[in-house]
């Protein structure tokens, strides 16, 4: 049995499942609503399976709502995954600072060169 964080990331490692989460971010939806946009590319059982993966990973839950069972986002697992990512924020911020610095140097060099060429013409 994989740990919770591994199950969350595995569930997110699929564009159809991420699109289903994006749909649920707009509001509750039934399994058939979630499947609908993909029926031209995938079978209904395959899509139901995607919903089940999201449910097992704790990313969505089915509510009892009279006869219907609409799905809704369950954001706790996403929060834990986002918190795990946060510890690496310093790394990408640093690397983008370096890129930014590099681009400034290149732009400054280009401008200096442009002025030099303009002076020559």
């Amino acid at each position: 049995m994989p740990d919770q964080l591994s199950r969350t990331f595995a569930a997110l490692a699929d564009p159809t499942r991420r699109a289903m989460l994006a749909r649920l971010a707009q509001g509750k939806a039934n399994v058939s609503d979630l499947a609908e946009p993909f029926l031209d590319k995938m079978s209904r059982p395959a899509l139901t399976k995607h919903v089940k993966v999201l449910e097992k990973a704790g990313l969505i839950r089915k509510k009892r709502d009279a006869q219907r069972r609409p799905c809704e986002l369950k954001p706790e697992a996403l929060k834990d995954a986002a918190e795990w990512m946060e510890q690496y924020r310093a790394f990408w911020e640093e690397s983008f600072d370096r890129l930014d610095e590099y681009l400034k140097t290149v732009t400054a060099e280009k401008k200096a060169k442009g002025k030099k060429n303009a002076g020559q013409s």
Copy 2:
């Protein structure tokens, strides 16, 4: 061929690979350094494969450094994954606000009850 975001999440869906990233957050390391803490539980080829998954997902890169090829973090893919997560931040913040409110109510009720009981004794 899965999309980049799917490859990133799939690579993160394993505790050994996440531990290897945590090791690289401390500084560059060779494949053998990355494998070392897990050799009691896993074979060297299995560990080399984990490193390759991280490399293929673009989460780490091997540097040419004279004869050695140390690995280092490549934070861009993590950044993209974290940005994808950010769009759901409102959901978990809202749900934790609701939890917070609930806890405040429960605590207030307990306090009121405690005072009542203290008055009775």
